[in-house]
Amino acid sequence: MATDIGPPDYRTMLPEIIKKNYGQWKYHEILKPGFLKHVAENGDAVYTIRAGSPRLLSVDKVRDICDVADKYCDGHLRFTSRHNVEFLLADESKLEALAKEINEKLGFPIGGTGTCLSNIVHTQGWIHCHTPATDASGIVKALMDELYDYFVSEKLPAKMRISLACCGNMCAAIHCSDISVVGVHTAPPTKIDDKNFSTWCEVPTTLASCPTGAIRRYPEAKSVRIDEEKCMYCGNCYTVCPALPIASKETDGIAIFVGGKVSSNRTSPKLSKLAIPFIPNNPPRWPEVVSAVKNIVEVYAKNARKGERMGDWIERITWPTFFKLTGIPFTMKHIDNFTGALTTYNRSAHIKF
């Protein structure tokens, strides 16, 4: 047993062409969707094929990926921060054969570069999480089946990142994505387990977990009580206290946010903003979520200028126009009422008629 050894030094994992030209890259080209070429100062080139994976992989699938990397890439590969796998090689003549094996042997699509839609960053959902309001992998599969063409070809005006979190913890920190799909509860905890509260939970932690201060001590039962007027069903109390379960088939579902970005490219980073407050869960394929997201993607693709991210496009056309073009209803729920809300209101006389 060895502890505190940390991860293996990445330098021991680098392909030769990368080691040789580390820090010496000069420019890159996108040859076609999913195919990158980076050229070094000395003229050396490294080719990368990027392929989409479902993130959840059996060890046998990982071994299949290794077989392909052994055959074409001298036993080297990498993954990206968005669950894609990348095969790097110096020999351009092998690219087409490699691409064929990725498609046929691994069943992985090639794309996700440039203005392709990239893979959907997502969380555990019903596969392994105790706090989800929805499943993650199922919706991602359904969405990427529908948006497949956008992954394998460059049909968008600019980069688009769709991310999904199965609850408000947002373990994929999706709060700054072009399109964020997040699981939400729409009712308070289904019960307060008074019998077990005092052994399962701590009062101060439970009270402090509530963003709206909706939880109060209830010493009579050695428990707490929730002011349902103040509760907005975020479920953070359940995260710290198992005696406050909140998941419910009838009231859990999906919210969709739009317009976030993390890069400082041309415009400042932005948080995503609410587009659709609630779509009920409808497994296994969540058709209403898929069609809502596809609608937003298509309206954006049709109307935005080249180089304009979703958030930039919406700012240019203004939010009322976004709701008009997409046909999404604007409701009381869209208007912010949490901390910092006032700065999100239209404090101008700029109105289109």
Partner: protein, 388 residues
């Protein structure tokens, strides 16, 4: 048996995108636990709720975190996932692997766990999904003793740092992100494996302001590579772009957020006012063969990114506009220790550093850090007269 049928999940094997259901079924051919996972998941698809119980503390000797406890709420129906815990395995920086290393992990995991993995979890670790309690220690012993892999962060600790591909492959990299990430991970092993604090702290490192690792949204300390001097422009390459049809005025020059670029149509020259450039990366991204970062490189150190709970989603903001990033990165590590001391001393349970700064005030934070107030830290100064 009809309980073994999974008609809802079978639907998700149709369609062109690779299917996670196929992966679970494939692992299920060898491992009963993967099979039970599939059946429990099918039940969730019917019941519309998860069948995992709340939490549970499990671990390996010497560490206070790194494994996540997970127990089925229906162990009578799914005995092979009664206890189905997760390992977070710290990835090599930049997610580079040899097939030899990956195969070792696969062999170990197949022996001790479900055979199901995530490449990767959102913070960056490899996720080994599902092992019974008695296998945690021997699995960890094999990972660290034989394969040379260690656990990543969890709980109220320093989470596994991660970074973009950086100098390994990207011409935009202004810092050696993979080296910095590896260095910080090795330096702060104790903070990663033994939860010291009131809550978690995340560090993510991007080589340039494109921020491909999404550090500004996802980490308490985003570290973003940048340059201090002027962009480098290759005028011959610029002319090549223009001659092959790029409308440089409407697509590049007019898009510059601070009007730092000018197109001299007569001389066919792209002129830069370097003092106006805010390093947004737009012109570089549009003309990668012609425009490159400057040579005086370093990083912008930011603070405060986090997911929504409790006080709302946050983007990080500028703390130190420019810091040279040279090994052993002493200035950065000193700053980190200062931040952690102040946050640990003053923060409440589950209070992220950004929330603590909001509660106590930025002035108090900057004083504690011994950092000067700079206009680059704000988008705009205060609007209220509550100055004193």
């Amino acid at each position: 048996m009809s309980e073994d049928k999974t008609p809802k999940l079978d639907e998700l094997e149709k369609g062109p995108w690779p299917s996670f259901v196929t992966e679970i079924k494939r692992a299920g051919k060898k491992k009963a636990s993967a099979n039970d996972l599939l059946k429990q998941l099918e039940l969730s698809y019917t019941d519309g709720v998860t069948h995992w119980k709340h939490g549970g503390v499990v671990g390996v000797r010497g560490y206070g975190c790194g494994t996540i406890g997970r127990y089925s709420d229906s162990p009578d129906k799914f005995p092979n996932v009664a206890a189905f815990h997760t390992f977070r395995v710290n990835h090599p920086s930049g997610w580079f692997y040899t097939t030899k290393a990956l195969r070792q992990i696969c062999d170990i995991w197949e022996k001790y766990g479900s055979g199901l993995t995530n490449f990767h979890g959102s913070t960056g670790d490899i996720i080994l999904l599902g092992a019974p309690t008695e296998n945690l220690q021997p699995c960890f012993d094999a990972l660290s003793g034989e394969a040379g892999f260690d656990l990543g962060g969890a709980a109220s600790d320093l989470r596994t740092p991660s970074c973009c591909v950086g100098a390994a492959r990207c011409e935009f990299a202004c810092i050696d992100t993979t080296d910095l990430c590896n260095d910080l991970t090795q330096t702060f092993q104790d903070y990663i494996h033994r939860p010291h604090w009131g809550y978690k702290f995340k560090i993510k490192i991007s080589g340039c302001p494109n921020d491909c690792i999404a550090s500004i949204g996802r980490s308490d300390m985003p570290i973003i590579g940048t340059w201090r001097d002027a962009l480098r422009i290759d005028q011959d390459a610029v002319r090549e772009y223009v001659d092959s049809g790029l409308d440089i005025v409407s697509e590049v020059v007019s898009q510059c957020p601070t009007e730092a670029l000018e197109w001299d149509a007569k001389g066919k020259k792209l002129n830069l006012k370097p003092e106006e450039c805010v390093r947004c990366m737009y012109c570089l991204s549009r003309m990668p063969k012609a425009i490159r970062p400057g040579l005086d490189k370093g990083a912008t150190i930011m603070i405060g990114g986090k997911a929504p709970l409790v006080r709302g989603p946050r983007l990080g903001w500028v703390l130190v506009p420019f810091m040279k990033m040279e090994p052993p990165y002493t200035e950065l590590k000193d700053l980190l220790e200062k931040i952690w001391d102040w946050w640990d001393e003053n923060g409440k349970t589950r209070e992220r550093v950004s929330e603590l700064i909001e509660r106590l005030g930025i002035q108090e934070f900057l004083k504690a850090m011994d950092l000067p107030p700079l206009p680059e830290m704000v988008a705009e100064p205060r609007t209220n007269a509550f100055i004193f």
